[in-house]
Symmetry: C2
Subunit: 151 residues, 2 copies
């Protein structure tokens, strides 16, 4: 059975307090900075638990760190991430959910999890970059996105 420990509460609370995404390492550091003697392994375990029961979201940052965020809504959603400034927009995607489940089932796959994220340049970064990135933006024109960067 699951026990309620102050450590678990502590992780849950501070994750909710952060609001956005944070790495396990950073959350541990924040807790320690706040005077808590919580252990690093416990933070990892708790975050993994929270993610497993749906109380937290997790995603892999581009440099391979796992990031977590309190998932107040309980809603499952995906992210639209600016690959320049890191701004993140949450997007719901009922159509994608059902598509993923259907495709997995059609191919005999079970316990399907999907990775669905969209990376792009947010309006602001695109504006700022347009003056200096001519060659690059020509190569990666919007129309070519599917062929080049899309996965």
């Amino acid at each position: 059975m699951k026990r309620n420990t102050w450590q678990r509460e502590s992780v849950r609370d501070s994750l909710a307090g952060i609001g956005g995404f944070i790495s396990a390492q950073a959350l541990h550091a924040a807790l320690r900075a706040g005077g808590s003697p919580i252990g690093l392994a416990t933070v990892y375990r708790t975050l993994a638990d929270l993610a497993a029961i749906g109380e937290a979201d997790s995603l892999q940052s581009p440099d391979g760190e796992a990031l977590y965020r309190a998932c107040s809504s309980g809603e499952h959603h995906h992210h639209l991430i600016c690959r320049h400034c890191g701004r993140t927009v949450e997007i719901g995607a009922a159509e994608v959910e059902s598509w993923a489940q259907r495709v997995a089932a059609e191919n005999g796959f079970v316990d399907a999890a999907h990775v669905v994220d969209i990376f792009g340049w947010c309006a602001q970064c695109a504006d700022e970059a347009s003056g200096v990135e001519d060659a690059s933006s020509a190569r990666r024109a919007p129309g070519a996105a599917d062929a080049t960067g899309a996965v």
Copy 2:
């Protein structure tokens, strides 16, 4: 200036030959298995370069590995990947393409690339595991996949 070495060609070629996503480690192992004495660090560097100039896609697998794929084929598709045996099924997803473009546009994002992959257990691996993984598979029933692994 960029120099053309057989190592670079080798990585480029075998990545294209693979067709799907592969980790740097796995690609290195494949090259070595094919008789090439290429170094691991070189594979990492070359893949990072290819990704930087747009000749390769990269994505983070759920367990934190970086996966790469050649993106010159012109054909854009996604993957259904068995997280146990690695079997990969290519899946087309016209509906997801248009969804991704629409969502990005609605939020002012340009040059949008999407990461859409489904990880699961293929029928065969699920069968083999069912005898020993009862508790686990009950905990991670198909219906719970969205809450647990999806991002």
